[in-house]
Amino acid sequence: MIGNARFDFIHFMHYTALPENQKEFPSLWVDFPNKYFDPVRGHELYQRYLSQLVLADKLGFDAVVVNEHHNTAYSMMPAPNLIAATLIPQVKNAKICVWGTPPNLEHPNRLAEEYAMLDVLSQGRLEVAFPLGTGMEYWSNSVNPATARERHRESIEIILQAWTQDGPTSYYGDFYTYRYLNPWPRPVQKPHPPCYIVGTGSPETIDLASKLGFGYASVFVTKQRARELNEELRRGAEQHGHHIRPDQLPLQVITYVAETEQKAREEAVEHIQYFFEDALRTTPTFLAPPGYLSVDQLKKRAALADKLHGVFSFENIEQAFFVAVGTADQVVEKLELWAEQMGTNHFVMFAAIGNMPNWKVVKNLSLIAQDVIPRVRATTPVHHRAAAE
């Protein structure tokens, strides 16, 4: 199953130069005052983060991944296409993944244009995801959360039409009208760059990915739930005549490799704690603006949040999510197990974690590249070997 294993490096570009009183703010999203953004520190962080992404390419990672969030210290990438454009001349081999702009927060023709530009500039190395966007994005943009899903579906339809049909075409929808849909340039990759949906496991989102035959990556769901979602997607896609390949099921893993397990924990845990306690901190209201979730989903998530509520515990996080912190041997073992369980060969390494200093990120990426990637790539699972013989 792991044949052709693929390793991506994902970056969230947190703004980490937070004020000392940051814990007093219930949310670092939506309404966290932007006076706390210092452009000088921002510049330093951009330089550092870009260099880490470029390093991943040099070390042999298969792809670099960026994404979009608004009004938040969680992310300095409200416009990830700008980051992607900055990366293209520096990232020579790796794919550039923009996972991505919620297409309903943009004019869909404009997003089709921008992604086509990136695909042409990178000579066909672009991959995109069409997230619905977190609840927080709807408090920060002028788009109605109650009709977000309908608008999301329609905007994806427009982008695919723009990419796959010779223009000019027309589109008359509930939210968008295009008399001349005829964007220049068009993407290099045919019929279009590989597409994914990224989500937190709403049935409506799985259903959409199934219909479109897109890849699906779940984020912030438990291991058990992620496994179910992959299963649901494979089954759902099958019903729509699509066969989902393992590489279409990216698995995001919080990864840190060091010389010993103890050292790995000592070096990584405080930053994982920062990620969950600080970077991700927001309110239930911001997470679920009105109409954004079905009532059923709201109740399920509220019940789960009650259960997870409490002080940070690395053991709980490690148990709930895909967390591989340890020696290279331990990390390889976990990745191979999860690949088998999840039916994937595509790992998205979350390796620049929280407020990790540069040296740790560089060390982590280097050890992953040197001691983890080649070994996982070399693995040929038993049942495949048997079939080959």
Binding site: N144, T283, P290, K299
Partner: protein
């Protein structure tokens, strides 16, 4: 928890444009229609005195309370059309119309278009107009658990209708109603065209407000009066947005005006 809906009200279920619509009715006499606000959890016990003289009809708006969702409703005017159909189904030609908050906006819009069917109109703390000088909070920006206390002057009045501890079902119901409200009001929390048409409210019209209304400030009654030349205003001290729940005098004043 107290029963928000008095036992003497009869529950009728109608299907309007394919959507289950629940209507509560009690009393005999000429029809008095009450259009509720965006949250109906506090119920309609205050309407009981009206049933002594009128056939009181309280429909749940689609998307609220016991009526089903209608995803095709996307703007306030869709409710005007819904009520045309419902009133036809109920055989109501002319009525006394009382609208509270969101229902006040609906009532005003219905009466603007179908004034000949409205004998007398009462708007209680109506939503719908933009008052730049006295804007009131954006309902969507209020934490849901803080909203009930903001609705009243005396919290004891509504306390019996609220769950004692956090309740997932109650939270889910409020979230459902909030989603419907977002469909109507997320982009534009008020109706910018309404001032242009309010002069058509030529029937006797009463504006009722709680002096301590923290959701839709009492000062907004003045702009309603500016646009509705013949409207009377009655303001009740010691009451918040839920003035009918809090002040029996307000309920009686409505009844006197309607008679």
């Amino acid at each position: 928890m107290a029963n928000p809906f008095p036992a003497e009200f009869k529950r009728e279920v109608h299907t309007i444009n394919g959507v289950k619509t629940v209507v509560l009715t009690a009393g005999r006499g000429e029809p008095l229609v009450f259009l509720h606000g965006a949250g109906i959890w506090h119920g309609i016990n205050f309407t009981k005195p009206w049933t002594e003289k009128y056939r009181v009809i309280v429909p749940f708006h689609p998307g609220f309370g016991e009526s089903a969702d209608d995803p095709s409703i996307s703007e306030m005017h869709d409710y005007v059309m819904h009520y045309l159909d419902l009133f036809d189904a109920l055989g109501i030609e002319r009525m006394r119309l009382v609208g509270f908050s969101l229902g006040g906006c609906m009532a005003a819009k219905f009466a603007v278009e179908h004034g000949h069917r409205v004998e007398r109109l009462v708007l209680v703390g109506p939503a719908g107009l933009r008052d730049k000088a006295h804007p009131g909070p954006d309902l969507f920006m209020l934490p849901p658990d803080k909203i009930p206390a903001m609705l009243v002057s005396n919290f004891d009045v509504i306390k019996p209708y609220l769950p004692e501890k956090p309740d997932l079902d109650f939270m889910g119901e409020r979230y459902r109603e909030g989603g419907m409200l977002a469909r109507l009001l997320w982009e534009h929390p008020w109706d910018k065209k309404l001032p242009r048409y309010l002069h058509r409210l030529t029937m006797p019209t009463l504006l009722v407000w709680g002096e301590e209304d923290r959701l839709i400030p009492v000062q907004q009654s003045e702009i309603w009066r500016r646009y509705i030349p013949k409207a009377d205003i009655q303001i009740f001290k010691g009451a918040g947005h839920l003035v009918l729940d809090e002040k029996r005098e307000a309920v009686d004043a409505v009844q006197r005006f309607l008679s």
